[in-house]
Symmetry: none
Subunit: 179 residues, 4 copies
């Protein structure tokens, strides 16, 4: 992750990763099928964690606004301590066209749908305004989170900044979505 975050996907040499890991070049291929699979494994791990977290935590929340705030806290919280991971997910992962199309898109879609579902539920329960498309809202929410993470990862990345941002973003969105 460190090497990918430093150089990007294409500029990263497999031999650099091997060196950073303290193994021989060939050893990489005992555990990963290709350079792309190597990058993807970093991402798969976390998205699984995020999805299971959502399955467990969201049902505990009383209503849609609380669930939306939980999603925002979770997504930014997951990355808050891991600048390299944040950069890999917001920037590096998108550098491999094949990776995006074949692996990442399905995961992103599932995640976006989960957010859209929260919005739709809120609309049905009367806790969110009706005149907004849940899918557009979901993409805007994800985009906002992603934009914040991106700047944080590429900038100074100070501890706590993502937490503060999460709170402010949630405040704005929840008020903006209120009926």
């Amino acid at each position: 992750m460190k090497v990918f975050a430093r150089s990007g996907f294409h500029a990263t040499r497999v031999s650099e990763v091997a060196k950073a890991a303290g193994v021989a070049d060939g050893t990489i291929y005992l555990y990963f099928d290709s350079k792309e699979e190597l990058l993807f494994s970093l991402f798969e791990d976390r998205i699984d964690k995020l999805l299971s977290f959502m399955r467990e935590e969201l049902p505990k929340q009383p209503d849609a606004p609380a669930r939306l705030r939980a999603v925002i806290d979770m997504q930014l919280g997951l990355l808050a301590g891991e600048r390299d991971l944040a950069e890999v997910i917001t920037v590096i992962l998108r550098q491999s066209t094949r990776l995006m199309k074949e692996f990442a898109t399905p995961h992103f879609t599932a995640y976006l749908d989960a957010i859209a579902k929260i919005v739709a539920e809120g609309q049905a329960a009367g806790t969110f305004r009706q005149d907004i498309s849940p899918h557009i809202a979901a993409r805007a929410i994800f985009g906002a989170l992603d934009g914040i993470t991106l700047t944080w990862a590429l900038g100074r990345a100070e501890q706590g900044a993502l937490g503060r941002a999460a709170g402010q973003l949630a405040d704005v969105l929840l008020r903006g979505l209120a009926p």
Copy 2:
């Protein structure tokens, strides 16, 4: 633009671009210094247009909320008719690490600062709430616009969808940012 949008930056061959343009490979290099410069020129053109548009139109708006709505309309309006451009800016441009670091980041920063400035002015004038960092707001707004454009570009990209999205996003954000 068409070729880059189809294949991505790395998978696009300079010879493909030459073929699509109906010129010989070498001719490309009479007008562009490198493959990266070729991609970047597509983007530079439009960001200039966007920035001068902002310089002209924003002062005409009465207050910060109106200016923020104008920015949203402009950014999505610029891309609404040009799916390839939208894909190049949201996806392809980010595939070259060097391009992002050396060329694009300064432009993005300038644009983000312009948005942050609108938010700060609104806060000073009392038309936006005070408890939000203008920079965080700017990143979230840009990220939301970007996320909406990305999904539109990669999906069916129907005419009018971006305009509707712009209206809804502005509604949510302006209410969310209201004092």
Copy 3:
């Protein structure tokens, strides 16, 4: 051909071929799709020559024994002046499993069938004995020619030796096949 004959297929580096040809490595790939195609092109050229030679010369011969003698003269005559070609065909070509299966076998089969046909015609005309399978005879004849060429190519390869061998082989075979 020189480089392949010296080192064999697998031990030959494409860069060696390029160097021997006085061009850059990449230039090879402007004219040949792969290393295998490079080797095969050496062979295709000659087999075409041999087959057209057979189409023209064989009908001029009065009977099957004369035609068989002509085939023997032709095959050894084609290689007599070109030791490298002889080595490529008898040894090197067989080192690439894929080349043998996909390209060479069909040509070999066609050639063997042409020889078998001569034997069968001789049997029908009563100029060859009946108790020999034309296909076994064809393979034995081809094998004998191949064995002679192989030893010649790997040995001192003196001028004229193949011609003498051709005469002796034809004498033995024709007497052996006589009714």
Copy 4:
């Protein structure tokens, strides 16, 4: 032998051989020095058997024609029941340039010399015609046997076919070589 016959020398992985033998990769190297030595051992075994067979059986034959027929029967008989061995000797063995030059050629030469000696003895005793070079004859005979074996091994390889071929080849050669 099974694995080499299936895939050829270069395409065969040492790990495949180990798997087929039911041992670990490293175990192979306790018994064989290298992949080449592994292939060569398959061949050395049999050539020794063939040479000792020749030492014992040939002296029992009354004259050169009988000895030549015995050699033909032996060589094809040795391979008749073992298609994999036939393929290894006619095809696979020749795929390694080093193996051919360093190991196999001496054995082939010894074998060819033995055949040439039979021809020369027949000429001295007046049972073979004088106008044929014993070495050319030997190479042609070996080549014919090899060509027949090759087609048999690569084709359907039916039981008995090699025996029939041996008889026919001997008939043709002996009549062709008669004074």
